[in-house]
Point group: C2
Chain length 191, copies 2
């Protein structure tokens, strides 16, 4: 494990998603592995930590998650801009070597067989809470967060420190058509 990857307590895992970054969703079932980009992921509960993510029925990642019951949400950064867009544009059903095309490197933590994307700034491993109606009617998956980690160069002690870090580590926020925003400046309410 790289020294800058530090565990995040589950009660603070929501903070990794709270500012609304675009995420990468990864999953594995035996030798089947896929990663896709998703803008529609969100925290759902503080403790026990839960998340939602919308997964279209056309995606291989969803198929793997339905088979295996686990997925990871991870927060890609500006350095991964093109890879993030490619992971959201290419389907593994059409390009079996999708991950190679995208240059996506994977690693594992905690002996969990959920592949994580190297170079991201936060990772949440989640177990699907089966909700057949939500999954079928709304493509909406709910996950219980079973492990969370972050890159300590930008997230430590429960807080993001984007201002201290290189711009390449800023989170990405997708709009449409290949256009993203990076996260901006920290501002504090003053009451």
């Amino acid at each position: 494990m790289k020294s800058h990857i530090q565990r995040v307590e589950l009660a603070k895992a929501y903070r990794l998603l709270n500012h609304g970054p675009t995420v990468l969703v990864s999953a594995q079932n035996n030798h089947d592995i896929d990663v896709m980009a998703a803008a529609w992921a969100c925290a759902l509960e503080f403790s026990p930590a839960k998340v939602t993510v919308v997964l279209d029925k056309s995606t291989k990642t969803r198929q793997i998650i339905e088979q295996n019951g686990y997925f990871a949400l991870q927060v890609p950064c500006f350095a991964q801009l093109n890879m993030t867009y490619q992971l959201g544009s290419i389907s593994q059903f059409e390009a079996p070597n999708k991950l190679e095309i995208c240059g996506t490197q994977l690693f594992y933590l905690d002996d969990l067989k959920v592949p994580l994307v190297d170079g991201c700034i936060a990772w949440l491993i989640c177990k699907v809470i089966p909700e057949p109606h939500n999954q079928q009617a709304h493509d909406l998956f709910i996950g219980s967060v079973v492990g969370a980690w972050a890159d300590s160069r930008v997230f430590r002690d429960g807080h993001w420190y984007f201002a201290d870090a290189d711009k390449s580590l800023k989170s990405l926020h997708y709009i449409a058509g290949g256009t993203f925003y990076t996260i901006g400046d920290e501002v504090k309410a003053d009451l």
Copy 2:
């Protein structure tokens, strides 16, 4: 209607939320009106446009939405930093004059009786799609978007133009404890 408030076609309404801004949730039932801040709102479907939002059972806003069946999600901006934090911190159950304390001014569009917060940069009026299990078990509400508008100084022709506008109009992205981030720079994937 102020001239800079322009209608957004419903098929592009998701773009108002896609970059993950913190939102204000407003609702009205007869003379009962409340507004709260929420970081956990997300697009759910492109067309017909749908959204999710997590509403804690302790909030008056949720109570009103359960009575009335409509809510608005709106995107506050940096100029509204302190108001946004206050709207998320003060309960109208404890402070009946919450909206006065927060300095929240309301207006209406399209003869819909859903109050909208003045000074925001985007507004989505939503009709609750009743999902009793999600509402009870997960505090998760699903809404069908029935009208969308944006401030044309920062969103027009389906795109955000934060770089062209004053910093005061940037969206806010909440972390915790009064700390937010503003949205940053536009970046484009280059494949």
